[in-house]
Amino acid sequence: MTAPEPVVTIRGLDFAYNGNPILRNVNLEIAARDSLCIVGPNGGGKTTLLKLILGLLQPQRGEIKILGERPEKARLRVGYVPQYAYYDPLFPVTVLDVVLMGRLNRLAIGPYTAKDREAARAALAEMGLGNLERRLFAEISGGQRQRTLIARALAASGELLLLDEPTANIDAASEEHLFEVLRKLNQRLTVMLVTHDVGFASTFFKSIACVNREVVIHPTSELTGELVRNMYGDDIQMIRHDHRCSEEGHCTHGLP
C-alpha cells in the first residue's frame, strides 16, 4: 500500500522580494491531519511562506504542491484565516455575510444558494456563533471575529486550514477557546498556523517550523528555551505560559 500523499510538499524553494532573499532552500512536508506551527522573528519569512502556499506569491526556484496540485489550483480546497485586525471597523457587513464569502467562487453570480446559506450557518454553529449571524462584524469581540473568520474558512469546505497570527489582539480566555476549536478541527483537517506565541505552539501543535530565512522543523516535544533563543536571537523575553490547567491543578507549561 502506498503512503497517502502529503497535504503540503515544498522542495528546494527560494523566494526573494526585490532582490532581497526572504526564504532559502525550503523543504517541507506536511501529512494529512498534521498540525504545524510556524514561528520566527519579524521579517523572517513566516507570512511569505503562508502566501507562497496560498499561491499569492511565486517562488523564484523550487516546487510547491498543495493537496497534489499547484497552489493556484488548490486554493478552493484551502481555508485561510487572516488577522481580523486587518479589517476596516466601519465596514457594514454582518457576521453571516462574512462567512458566506467562503462560498464564493469564480462562476457564482447572483444571490447565494440555499446550500451556501446552510453551509455558512453550519460553520457558524460549529464555531459557537449561531446566535450572532445578524450582528455586525465590527460589533462583536476580537475572539468572536477570529472565530467568524475560521467559520468562513470552514464554509469553504477546505481540507487545509491556514491561520495567520490568530492569537494577536485577543484576550487569554478567547485564546483558550481558540485552542479548543483548533484541537477539534484538527481531528478532520490539517492545521498550519503562524504565531509569535511559542507557548501556544508547545501546547497544541505536533510540530513547530522555525522560519528565519531557512525553515527548520522540530517536534514540539523537543522545544526548549535554548532552541527558541537560537531561533529568535538573544534579544527576546520569554514568559512562562500556563494555558491549560485541569481542575485537579495539573498544568502544562508553554515553555519547558
Partner: protein
C-alpha cells in the same frame, strides 16, 4: 411654496427636469457612493473628477477650434474620467506605494490640461459652470444618460453584489476564492468615473466628492449591510438634492453649493447626535 408653484408652472420646465434628473441620478450616486465610502477610495473619485475638466477642455477645443463635431465636452469628460480611473486603478493594483503620488499628479494635471484647452478654445468659455455645476442646465438628452447610468450601475451592483462586497471588504480573500479582484476593482473605478461625470453636471468638479460621499457616510451610520447602505444613501441623496434645489430656488442661491452645505450639515448633526447618544449610554 414658491418652489412647488414653480415646479407646476409650465413656463419653467427646466426646474422639473432638474428635480427629476437629481432624483433619478441619486440611485447611481447612492450605490457608487456606498462603494466609494466602504472601499475608502474618495481621493480616487476626487482625482477622477478633476481629470474630467481635462476631457471637457479637450472636447470644447476639438469641437470649436478643429471642428471635430462628434467629440464634444461630454464625450471628452467620459473618456478622461475612464482613462483616469484605469490609470489610478492600475497604479493602485501594481504599485500601491505610488498610489498617492499618482492621485495627486492626475488631480492637478487634469485641471491644468482642461484650463489650457479652454484658454486656446475660440470664443468665451465659462469654466465656472464646470467647476461648480448647475443642475438647472441639465437637458432632456442628459435625462436619458442618467437613466442609462442608473440601469448600468444598479444592474452591475445587483448581479455582482457578493463579488464587489468581497473585493471591497477583503480583496486578498476574494482573490483566493477565485474572484477576479483586479477586474472587479477596475470595474468599480470605471463605474465611479461615469457617475462622477454625471455628478459634475449636478454639483461641479469641486464638490463631486461631497455629494458622492456624504449621503453614503450618513447612511453608513445606521446601515447593517452594504445593500441597506446603498438604499439609505440613495434616499439621502434624493432628499439633499430636492431640498437643496428648493432652498436655492427660494433664496436665489446657486444650487450646487446649497445641496452640498445641506448634506454637510446633516452629516455633522448625525455625528454630533451619535456622540451624544454614546456619552449618555
Amino acid at each position: 411654496m414658491d418652489f412647488l408653484n414653480a415646479l407646476a408652472d409650465p413656463a419653467i420646465p427646466f426646474l422639473r427636469q432638474a428635480l427629476l434628473s437629481g432624483i433619478l441620478a441619486s440611485l447611481a450616486f447612492g450605490i457608487i457612493g456606498t462603494y466609494v465610502v466602504a472601499r475608502r477610495i474618495s481621493s480616487i473619485a476626487g482625482a477622477i473628477s478633476h481629470c474630467v475638466l481635462g476631457g471637457i477642455g479637450a472636447g470644447l477645443y476639438l469641437q470649436n477650434a478643429l471642428g471635430v463635431t462628434w467629440f464634444g465636452p461630454l464625450t471628452g469628460a467620459i473618456v478622461a474620467a475612464i482613462a483616469a480611473a484605469i490609470i489610478i486603478g492600475l497604479v493602485s493594483l501594481h504599485a500601491k506605494q505610488r498610489e498617492d503620488t499618482a492621485i495627486g499628479a492626475l488631480w492637478s494635471i487634469g485641471m491644468a490640461v482642461g484650463l489650457l484647452f479652454i484658454a486656446r478654445t475660440p470664443g468665451y468659455v465659462e469654466p465656472m459652470s464646470y467647476l461648480f455645476g448647475n443642475i438647472l442646465l441639465i437637458s432632456q438628452a442628459d435625462l436619458w444618460l442618467v437613466l442609462a447610468l442608473d440601469v448600468l450601475v444598479a444592474g452591475t451592483a445587483l448581479l455582482f453584489y457578493h463579488q464587489l462586497l468581497a473585493v471591497c471588504f477583503d480583496e486578498e480573500y476574494a482573490r483566493l476564492r477565485g474572484i477576479r479582484a483586479d477586474f472587479f476593482y477596475l470595474l468599480l473605478l470605471c463605474l465611479t468615473a461615469l457617475t462622477v461625470v454625471l455628478l459634475v453636471r449636478v454639483v461641479g468638479i469641486v464638490m463631486v466628492i461631497a455629494l458622492l460621499t456624504l449621503p453614503a457616510a450618513v447612511a453608513g451610520n445606521v446601515a447593517r449591510n452594504l445593500g441597506q447602505m446603498m438604499a439609505l444613501a440613495t434616499i439621502c441623496s434624493m432628499l439633499f438634492i430636492s431640498t437643496g434645489l428648493a432652498v436655492s430656488y427660494s433664496y436665489d442661491l446657486p444650487s450646487g453649493p446649497t445641496i452640498i452645505v445641506l448634506a454637510g450639515l446633516v452629516y455633522l448633526l448625525m455625528l454630533a447626535g451619535r456622540r451624544l447618544v454614546r456619552k449618555n449610554a
